[in-house]
């Protein structure tokens, strides 16, 4: 019961900011009166949303699956990497530079390659999301795992604990807040990966629909798809936030 007013209180400022942006948008449309194929007003976008609900919904569902699969797989790989690196010093010395170096490769530039290798289906989009989610999760979690209170490690040593058990019973629970901050980033990044994948080559998804609408000068439809994408990302971010609070 008490969660609902708490949620409302947290969402109220975001709602206000949203309304403010909406007002600014409408204000620009009224003041500058751009042609609708350059910048449609909020009303036109809502109309496009209502008129194409089934079309947009179908594409949104495709994107949602790509994002969810990418998020789960990317976070899973990232967390597993962090635990493995935290357990083994040689692995850290060998793998860390590779990880950091890999971040110098712009993920966007890989999208055409992934499409070439994995085809036009769902797979390259999921792979993009995995790639974009993997590093923030691995890096944040590893950071947390390497910052275990030395007092706990002393205690564990005096208790003749096994390293794997220290990891499971002390280091991982203590690093969950760090993992949570990685996951919150991941929730926002994953849709970016999926949409870029769709832009490069797809027949489904919100990114594909946006390109399609853009090509046909249906800017209102493009904005409607964008709006749904924003809502999808926000919902995901809130869901991951709630999950993280339960973890912590």
């Amino acid at each position: 019961m008490s969660a609902a007013p708490g949620l409302a209180r947290r969402l109220a400022p975001a709602g206000l900011a949203g309304l403010g942006m909406l007002a600014l948008w409408q204000g620009v449309v009224w003041a500058a009166a751009p042609p609708p194929f350059i910048l449609p007003g909020p009303e036109a976008v809502v109309r496009a949303l209502g008129g194409n609900a089934r079309l947009i919904g179908g594409h949104a569902l495709a994107t949602l699956w790509e994002v969810l699969a990418g998020l789960v797989l990317g976070a899973g790989f990232g967390a597993a990497t962090a635990v493995a690196l935290a357990l083994s010093r040689p692995a850290r010395v060998l793998v860390m530079p590779v990880l950091v170096l890999s971040q110098a490769v712009p993920v966007f530039a890989l999208a055409p390659l992934l499409t070439l290798w994995l085809g036009y289906g769902m797979l390259p989009k999921v792979a993009m999301a995995v790639l974009i989610v993997y590093f923030p999760v691995a890096s944040a979690f590893l950071d947390g795992l390497m910052r275990t209170d030395p007092g706990w490690l002393d205690l564990a040593r005096m208790m003749r604990a096994r390293p794997a058990r220290v990891m499971w019973h002390l280091r991982i629970p203590a690093a969950l807040p760090a993992l949570a901050s990685g996951l919150r980033l991941a929730a926002v990044y994953a849709p970016i990966g999926a949409v870029i994948g769709e832009w490069v080559g797809a027949s489904r998804g919100l990114g594909y629909l946006m390109l399609l609408a853009n090509g046909r000068a249906r800017i209102d439809l493009m904005f409607a798809a964008l709006l749904v994408l924003v809502l999808l990302t926000l919902t995901l971010r809130l869901a991951v936030g709630a999950l993280c609070r339960r973890l912590g």
């Binding site: 205690l155 208790m159 003749r160």
Partner: protein, 257 residues
Amino acid sequence: MTAQGITLAGRERRVAAPGLTLEGRGVLEERALFGPLTLALPAGRWTCLLGPSGAGKSTLLRLIAGLSTAVRLEGTVRAEDSAPLAGRIAYMAQTDLLCPWLDVLGNVTLGARLRGERPDSARARALVDAVGLAGREAARPAALSGGQRQRVALARTLMEDCPVVLLDEPFSALDARTRAEMQALAARLLAGRTVLLVTHEPGEAVRLADRLLLVERGGLSDMPLPDAPPPRAPDDAGTLAAQGRLFRALLGEGAPA
């Protein structure tokens, strides 16, 4: 609670507690930091190391525990029964080191879980009872006061059931009254074990020590104690007089009165 505590203390006392000796020099970055010295912990007694911060008390404790320190020991730490020390030493630090995600019982049985053993929850409950926290078994550390958290840490230390117990200023963050209660509780529940207590508080040292050593400029000196056995009443004339002498010794010769 008292009856339970006494049976527990009685049961624990059957553990044969060996004396312990650290012998050697402490070396920091190739320079001698202390010693050569001999630190002997008499079997089944409380030895207190008293000294100002930075005197190296905790370093000595960590060397005995086998915990990592910047100081290297050129020498030995051994038990008088010549059996290896590993697994026979329990450790309690200044911070309670409780896991915030575990309840009281979970924290007390942490050692078993870290070793992959089945926790003896009946014994854990009895110990929680013995430290005066019956009924709070399911409480999280965040719901406990500082004194209660340190009681849980004491129960966790007792749960390890080790003949040697190292206490690194475990009561120094507590208020005066809670500290006095914890001292009495620890003295009762750890009776019969070989205990090393590191402290910077003369009153605490005089109350609890069977043997009291002042740590100064890399050496140890034995300090006299009242005849009464520990735990001594904090307001006893003998305790207070000894405490006064210790203050003097801590402040050094020619210190302002």
